[in-house]
């Protein structure tokens, strides 16, 4: 059986969650691998959530929020961006492939794009294979 | 007039964008550039229309008008959309020079051929590149030398301009600056050629120089041409050449300030200074040349109209130096008149292209008696040789 990745999606409720809803109302079909958790704002996303997801068996994490300048809370997405960039650097050092975490700006009108991003990410993670939970042989 | 069904040619527009003309999309056709373009003081040159043709992909690559722009940047500073017009023009020219459409003007083709063959636009032999320095006893640059002095092709080969490089060497020696020169393996900096659109040849020249500099262990370069300054400092980085590049305007003013050279000899003349585009609008150096001039005793500095950021180009940038400009259309002529208008007896320059252009126009206008063209380097050399 082929590997079905489990991906956590953390979406801001104002833009990206609404964008995902739009993909639904327009009946866009996309990969079922992303399981979505709704947050107020990408600014609420703690790096801990990403690490926790990996610990709990996720193979990838997709974070999506409003485009720069469109944040409902003015600048939450910029703060998410800063944390994400630093987190990425840390994850790279930990040997975690770049393709397993992704931050995207998806507006409420970009249902199509949401579907594309989910499909792309699913395929990328599928190629990477399952996330090694412990990563060591006897640890 | 004929009516035609216009299909804006997408391919041409695309090629222009690929050739670095992205900025042309920003233009909203207000005509500010045309209104202030110096060409329109002497002839008609609707640069705005050329940009619009580029936007539509309708440029006529055989039209000789595309070679007119001297890249003086006067319009860039005033463009409300910040369009870098010389870059747009360069993209158009690349389509001719690099991609092969249209017609290259004859004179430009000769300079281009010389650059490809012998590494200088004048077609002089490579091995004679350092002849200007004979009898000056200049040491060869080694990796322990602080500065490389790089003389512009004109300062190497042109009889008039050699005086500038020789003056520079004398000043540097007097100030006990640790510098050296490299040999015939160096080639033209390529700055004007790049603006004339021959990107591939420019890149090969640039790579040659970078390799020569790097192999010799060069870190700091002194130049006496602002064209070399511009491309060494602002463009060579793209190809991995990162050097500290200093024009003598900057360096000499520091030497004077630090008292390492002292201009003591009086020059009781009314002098005006012509800002070259490359040292002025490109490098933003307006004060240093004037400071140097004012440090010369007895020298009276007067300003022409259109100075500093509003200065009129001599007409020699972007490959125009190698091409023929009709008498009556030469900016250098206008500039000489402006200098005479304010009673100057010396027109000071700080660029070999300006020097060549002005000397040429002075000769053809028969005013050699009333005005002397001098590079600031030469004036400084005179002033310190007490």
């Amino acid at each position: 059986m082929s590997f079905e990745p489990k991906i956590l999606g953390v979406l801001c409720k104002w833009c990206s969650y609404a964008g995902a809803d739009l993909a639904g109302t327009s009946r866009k079909k996309y990969a079922p691998n992303v399981r979505v958790v709704r947050v107020n704002c990408t600014g609420r996303v703690e790096p801990t959530f990403v690490l926790k997801a990996f610990e709990k068996g996720a193979d990838g994490v997709l974070i999506a929020g409003c485009h720069p300048g469109d944040c409902h809370y003015l600048e939450g997405n910029y703060k998410a961006l800063r944390r994400f960039q630093l987190l990425k650097k840390m994850l790279a050092q930990m040997g975690i492939d770049d393709g397993r975490v992704r931050l995207e700006w998806i507006s409420a009108s970009e249902g199509e794009r949401f579907a594309v991003v989910v499909n792309e990410m699913t395929e990328r993670v599928r190629k990477l294979g399952p996330f090694a939970k412990n990563g060591g042989s006897n640890g | 007039m004929t009516t035609e069904t216009v299909t804006p040619s997408q391919e041409v527009a695309e090629i222009l964008l690929q050739q670095g003309g992205e900025m042309l999309r920003e233009c909203y056709q207000c005509g500010t550039c045309t209104a202030i373009c110096p060409w329109n003081q002497v002839t008609t040159f609707t640069i705005r229309k050329l940009i619009h043709k580029a936007q539509m992909g309708l440029v006529d690559f055989e039209d000789q008008e595309i070679w007119r722009c001297v890249g003086c940047r006067l319009c860039v500073d005033r463009c409300p959309r910040g369009v870098d017009v010389p870059k747009v023009i360069r993209a158009i020219r690349r389509v001719v020079m690099d991609v092969g459409a249209g017609v290259v003007p004859h004179a430009l083709r000769i300079a281009d051929k010389n650059l490809a063959g012998v590494g200088n636009p004048l077609g002089e032999p490579r091995e004679k590149r350092n002849d200007w320095a004979k009898s000056l006893d200049v040491k060869t640059f080694t990796k322990d030398t602080e500065f490389l002095y790089f003389a512009c092709c004109y300062q190497c080969y042109d009889s008039r301009c050699r005086a500038i490089s020789r003056a520079a060497v004398n000043i540097l020696k007097k100030a006990k600056v640790d510098f050296g020169i490299l040999g015939a393996e160096q080639v033209c900096c390529g700055e004007s050629l790049r603006k004339a659109g021959h990107e591939s040849l420019y890149q090969s020249l640039a790579r040659t120089n970078i390799e020569v500099f790097q192999q010799a262990g060069v870190k700091k370069i002194l130049v006496t041409s602002p064209h070399c300054l511009h491309t060494f400092r602002d463009e060579y980085g793209e190809f991995g050449g990162n050097f500290e590049v200093i024009h003598t305007a900057q360096y000499i003013s520091t030497l004077i300030e630090e008292g390492r050279i002292k201009p003591t000899k009086r020059l009781g003349k009314r002098v005006t200074y012509h800002d070259s585009c490359c040292l002025g609008r490109y490098a933003g150096m307006y004060d240093e040349p004037r400071q140097i001039l004012q440090s010369i005793p007895g020298l009276e500095l007067v300003e022409m109209r259109n100075t500093c950021q509003y200065a009129l180009c001599c007409g020699g940038c972007a490959g125009r130096l190698w091409q023929e400009t009709l008498k009556g259309e030469r900016f250098a002529e206008t500039r000489i008149e402006q200098a005479l208008e304010i009673g100057a007896s010396v027109l000071a320059v700080y660029c070999p292209y300006c020097m060549v252009n002005f000397e040429d126009s002075l000769l053809s206008s028969g005013k050699s008696e009333s005005l002397r063209i001098a590079d600031i380097t030469e004036l400084v050399e005179e002033a310190i040789s007490a």
Binding site: L8, V37, F49, K52 | -
Partner: protein, 655 residues
């Protein structure tokens, strides 16, 4: 209620065949039954219908459920519906969680089996989360019915009058000695050409005498604290050195004062005295003394004004006064500044005598202006040709990228006024004519008929260097007529630069005091560019007029009325609901590191210097959670979005 005793009811909606046609709802229900803390699971054809909601209500009452999960459509559709249902059954609405198995599952998944797997995961996430959810109370705050309007131009006057006429108190604060703003400086207004002061003066007087309006001129807002409904504002009333009660407005002081300085009101082309009212119809008609200019203050002698003042209104002992006021809403109508074209040296402003700005021309042409409305050159002669240069500092990325919106129209108005008063030729050098308003295009047509010459091209340069006899003694305007493709040298006597409208020089400072944001161009940022153009990101603060972006008088008045309506709506409701899901700092555990302090976009976090802890003001917090995520001690909790709740959901969906 403790988490250990959580009893969760899970309800799976079929949504007709929308969900059940793809997802195996029975299988999902069976799966939910096995999840921890789940006490009841039901599936139903339409959970959002009345019978559907009743199932939930009955179960809450009879099975003692204390948490509810509905797996159905998107929470943006029915979260409120189900929250209300819970509330009606006596369950706090924040103990409800929705799993979206329609928009994000059945509608988007091809494979039915995989859709069922995903639906289970989403239900698992919701159940896992809801167990950790806590009851929250919606909070309301009382609204103080008084309103502060900052800026007494036409926007501020209009807003103040609307609210005052509605029966509520308004404090109208204006920094100059009179209300009126820029509109008072204008001569005629486009496109109707009615006299600006004729339509403005009655409004100014009304504002000055309205029983509900407390006019505070020559005053500035120093500090604003508090939050929607309850702002505390400190206003500095600058010393006028004139007793308002005694002054009769006779104006003798102004004729006797020996000091003449440039008049701000006349845009520098006229003079005023050191004791002055900006213009004849000023409201209030009480002059002020500028201490920095007054001979008495500088040298200790003179007092000419005092000698001639019969009522004895001059009072050199006056001091600035700080007045504290309480208001429920604030309307910012602080207007605009005018672009100074001096840096564009090629236009010669400041160097060439008859190159003037549009505002200077406005005063020149005004019958109440320094020349009595005579259009004249610096030497007093009448111009025979005038060029009007559009877009100076506007539509220019080196200065202001935006279009100032009013210049094309006032430029047309100038053409008309020039044609009316002189024989001069008029040239308009424009990039695009933007005549978008009601009656504007018609106005353009009318002016074209008046013989104005239109040159399509931006002015490149203005010079006094003649190259022919006809250019001698003239200003030569260089522009390309891009329609002809020719560079034109237009010799004229006067050049009017249509300068940009820009944010007030102190806009940043004012925005900070108000706790509102500015857009990239520096103007105040509205909450939504289309659907909420008068509110700001701070509740209770509204914007009106050019402080939000360049606009003409009709748009300004409309926005002012809209802002007033928003303030009135708040006042008439009396209360305002504030976000319940706010952030909370556990002060017992806060180390006072101050990481969070500057992150809050709504300035709701303050630092208690004494206790060395940070604190969230609930009324300002909008619950975005940016501080919660940043707290390195993890001691800021986002109510309804706690780390515990989100992590529980993450664990749930990944289970």
């Amino acid at each position: 209620m403790t988490k250990n005793k959580a009893k969760v009811g899970v309800y799976i909606c079929h949504c007709g065949s929308n969900i059940a046609g793809v997802v195996d709802v029975k299988d999902v229900a069976a799966y939910a039954q096995g999840l921890p803390s789940v006490a009841a699971v039901k599936d139903y054809v339409y959970m959002c219908s009345d019978p559907g909601q009743n199932i939930i209500k009955e179960d809450i009452k009879h099975l003692g459920l204390n948490r509810v999960v509905v797996a159905c459509c998107s929470p943006s559709l029915h979260e409120l519906t189900f929250r209300r249902a819970c509330q009606e059954a006596g369950l706090n609405p924040y103990l409800f969680q929705q799993a979206n198995i329609r928009e994000q599952c059945s509608w988007v998944t091809e494979d039915a089996a995989l859709a069922t797997v995903k639906a289970k995961a989403l239900v698992s996430g919701a159940v896992s989360r809801v167990v950790h959810q806590e009851p929250l109370e919606k909070r309301e705050v009382e609204i103080n019915p008084n309103t502060l309007v900052i800026g007494g131009g036409i926007a501020g006057i209009q807003a103040a009058l609307e609210i005052a006429d509605g029966g509520y108190k308004v404090y109208l604060v204006e920094k100059t000695p009179s209300v009126g703003g820029h509109m008072a400086q204008l001569d005629k207004t486009f496109p109707t050409l009615d006299c600006s002061s004729c339509i403005l003066t009655p409004k100014m007087t009304q504002a000055g005498s309205h029983p509900n309006i407390e006019l505070m001129v020559y005053s500035e807002v120093e500090e604003i604290s508090g939050y929607v409904g309850n702002f505390k504002v400190k206003v500095r009333k600058k010393a006028k050195y004139v007793d308002e009660e005694k002054c009769t407005g006779c104006g003798i002081c102004q004729t006797k004062c020996p000091i003449r300085v440039d008049s701000e009101f006349d845009a520098g082309i006229g003079k005023r005295k050191a004791i002055y009212t900006p213009f004849a119809q000023a409201v209030p008609n009480v002059p002020v003394i500028v201490a920095e200019e007054c001979t008495y203050f500088i040298k200790g002698k003179c007092r000419a004004c005092e000698k001639f003042c019969e009522p004895g209104a001059i009072d050199f002992e006056q001091k600035d006064e700080i007045v504290e006021i309480d208001v429920g809403a604030i309307i910012a109508s602080t207007g605009y500044g005018v672009f100074d074209p001096t840096p564009m040296a090629h236009y010669g402003y400041g160097r060439l005598d008859n190159v003037i700005t549009s505002l200077e021309f406005e005063r020149l042409v005004s019958s109440a202006g320094p020349t009595g409305g005579k259009i004249q050159l610096k030497d007093g002669s009448t111009p025979t040709s005038i060029a009007i240069a559009h877009c100076i500092g506007s539509r220019d990325e080196k200065y202001h990228e935006y279009c100032s919106r009013v210049c094309c129209m006032y430029a047309l108005k100038y053409s008309h006024l020039i044609k009316e008063k002189t024989e001069a030729d008029v040239y308009q050098m424009y990039i695009d004519m933007r005549c978008f308003g009601k009656g504007y295009e018609e106005f353009y047509k009318r002016l074209s008929e008046e013989g104005v010459k239109f040159i399509r091209g931006k002015v490149g340069e203005v010079t006094d260097r003649a190259i022919s006899d006809e250019e001698k003694g003239k200003l030569i305007v260089l522009a390309e007529d891009s329609l002809l493709g020719n560079v034109m040298r237009v010799p004229v006597d006067m050049v009017i630069l249509c300068v940009a409208l820009e944010p007030q020089a102190d806009a940043e400072n004012t925005a900070r005091k108000l706790g509102i944001s500015r857009s990239a161009d520096g103007f105040y940022l509205e909450r939504h560019p289309k659907l909420d153009p008068v509110a700001t990101t701070t509740d209770g603060v509204f914007v009106a007029g050019c402080c939000q972006g360049p606009k003409d008088i009709p748009d300004t008045v409309a926005q002012a009325s809209a802002a007033a309506a928003r303030a009135l709506a708040m006042i008439s409701k009396g209360k305002v609901e504030v976000e319940a899901a706010t952030a909370h700092i556990d002060e017992e555990r806060c180390s006072g590191c101050r990481i969070c302090n500057d992150l809050c976009p709504f300035s709701s976090i303050t630092f208690d210097e004494e206790k060395k802890v940070s604190r969230v003001n609930d009324a300002l917090c909008k619950g975005c959670g940016v501080c919660v995520a940043a707290c390195p001690s993890g001691i800021i909790s986002g109510r309804h979005f706690t780390a515990e709740q989100i992590i529980a959901e993450i664990e749930g969906v990944l289970a």
